[in-house]
Symmetry: none
Subunit: 207 residues, 2 copies
């Protein structure tokens, strides 16, 4: 029996997921959490096999949640539901060790397939997601250099009006390192100033 933790700050989504999963006899929803923090707390006190989580969360975002959860519980399987079809986001969470990424608009059709795949020890990538990623690789002739997950992390903190010193403190790294990341962000996105980075973040739905 697969023990499942549902994570979403919208109770109605939790409800929808619950009723959807109730048709399966091979798993049981052990708990639900309305934030990434609550999810991590629950994982620490009870064994969970599969976490199904939203990307957008009130406290920390899905990328950070996957990173923390996977580092603490390497055997935990994670399925992410998200409304973002941006390659930058999908790439970042993929690299963080996510097992399945499903666009919310296809959740109803694909979630069960994803669970089947994961229970069989495989990853699941929805057609739409792979299409997006393939398309990205094609069009990546222009901006061949994808942003790394660390760079995306820095960029997100920048959009929160933090300066380099504050970001350095937050991430426990040197201010110099933050400056290097910023320099590389400017180079990769071909932006002249931080302002351009913020626009890039909006364009790629990192905000």
């Amino acid at each position: 029996m697969t023990k499942v933790l549902l994570v979403d700050d919208h109770a109605i989504m939790i409800d929808g997921l619950k009723s959807m999963l109730s048709t399966r006899t091979d798993l049981r929803v052990s708990a639900t959490a309305s934030s990434a923090g609550f999810a991590l707390a629950y994982l620490a006190k009870d064994h969970i096999d599969l976490m199904i989580t939203d990307y957008s969360m009130p406290d920390i975002d899905g990328l950070e949640l996957v990173k923390r959860a996977k580092s603490q519980f390497p055997d935990l399987k994670i399925i992410m539901l998200s409304m973002h079809d941006e390659p930058a986001i999908i790439n970042a969470v993929m690299k963080a060790g996510l097992d399945a990424y499903i666009l919310k608009k296809y959740a109803l059709e694909e979630l069960s397939h994803a669970i089947d795949a994961i229970q069989a020890g495989r990853q699941y990538w929805s057609p739409e997601v792979t299409r997006v990623l393939l398309h990205e690789e094609k069009s990546s002739g222009l901006h061949a250099n994808e942003l790394t997950s660390r760079e995306i992390e820095i960029l997100k903190l920048l959009t929160q009006e933090l300066n380099s010193r504050q970001i350095a403190e937050k991430l426990f790294i040197s201010e110099r390192t933050v400056e290097t990341h910023r320099k590389n962000l400017l180079r990769k996105t071909q932006c002249a100033t931080t302002i351009g980075l913020i626009k890039y973040a909006y364009l790629h739905k990192l905000i």
Copy 2:
């Protein structure tokens, strides 16, 4: 019997809403639509009393949908579910004649109350929404002063990644003047850095 149209591009949300509304005997879900366009098309061919719609849509956003729907069908009641708690957005849809605005995270608790209110001929504003709006009105005492057209002009040039010197050259004014305008922009929008100004510009659709 209230005839309801559900609009959301995420099938699982539609599912959740349906199962939630199934407990009520005073209404019936007549149809569902996965985009604003489909919703408007359906409204034209069948009488609907109440539309429950998401704000974020693939084609046009919730604001535009409310405007069009209300202008074509003035008697139609509309409840909006949204993840955005931005005063600018809430204010805009309110002015467009929306009957209820509910944050998705509280949809489960509040949707039924909203329906009750609307069937009783009233509007429904959730506590969270009114809190946001009140806060906005309070803080709008501070920046009761809208941005001047000159300031907006400067802000737009800022979003184009121009620095103060370049803006000064472009407008044939002193760099000092540009800096004064920037200072006033920061003060009026209560932003700490230029990054905040860019976000302000996005929020207020100056970009």
